[in-house]
């Protein structure tokens, strides 16, 4: 179902309940835009078109990514630390593949 993907996820190891935490995600992906130009072999678009992040069972961040976004896209957002648990990152790719990574957030 959801495959692993190379990503660097940076978030504080622990946070106080109610604290605003910054989450940084760098994911390795070519973000292949469609190439269809004279003299070039056409390449279908293959990008991560959706990114979704859940924490404590609730969606805290979602982004629609376009083909204008660079390869190895970097996303930074803030959220409120609610409870100890995994922050789950999911990406959907053109063609139906999906990827998943988790990062632990300890809330005290």
């Amino acid at each position: 179902m959801a495959n692993p993907i190379v990503a660097r996820i940076t978030l504080p190891e622990r946070a106080r309940r109610g604290e605003i935490v910054t989450v940084r995600v760098l994911v390795r992906h070519p973000m292949e835009r469609a190439i269809d130009a004279p003299g070039l072999t056409p390449v279908p678009r293959r990008i991560l078109h959706t990114m979704r992040v859940t924490h404590a069972g609730e969606e805290v961040f979602r982004a629609d990514l376009s083909q204008g976004i660079t390869a190895n896209p970097y996303v930074e957002f803030t959220t409120i630390a609610v409870e100890t648990g995994d922050v789950v990152f999911e990406w959907e790719e053109d063609g139906g593949a999906s990827y998943r990574r988790e990062a632990r957030l300890v809330v005290t």
Partner: protein, 245 residues
Amino acid sequence: MIRRALVAALLAGGIAAASELRPSRDFLSPELRALQDDPSRHPGWLWVEDGEALWRRGERSCQSCHGGIDSMAGVAARYPAVAQDGALLNLETRIERCRTQQQGEAPFGYESDALLSLSAAIAQRSRGLPMSVATDGAAAPFVEQGRRFYETRQGQLNLACGQCHDDNAGRRLRGDVVSNGLGTGYPAYRLEWNTLGSLHRRLRACSLGVRATQFPLGSPEYLALELFLAARAAGLPIEAPGLRR
């Protein structure tokens, strides 16, 4: 009086000393410099992590001879260097030689993701350390060869490296700032490439830019030039993995 001062100023300008060279990071925009300094945002670290995993992989891993990758601290500052058989090796060709001769594996291939990852992970251990390649003894003829390459006008545009990287450093060219061309940030993540790339890939772009012969990756010409650039950068900090436009 004024004329004498002018002559003195011209003379001082003529012998561009190493003290005039500035670290490559000085030529970056504040935004790119911040990005280069922040591993949580720098895409080059995707390759560094990959390289650290490669270091440990396999039965005869790099680690089984060299120990932890942290033992590589300072190594990148000494390369390119002349091997015992007289060949000039940079970090990439040194790794390839280790791989074929010590590990008995097929070479990764220049500019392959695996080789870029390993060289980035190794070079990262020297980040911030001053460049200090050997320029005497067996290295001397290679430095000379590199210097000739650097100082010779080339290509349809008939330009020598120094006409941009010494005479016009700090000014703009094609929307970017011309640096001193030290190569201390390579392998670097170039936004234009959308990937990590080696110094030789960058040098090929330079050759193309002046419409000169592009030499193959790992060619003797670029190796000698890389050594000369490293000698020029003596004392300036290694920035690998760099971040470039």
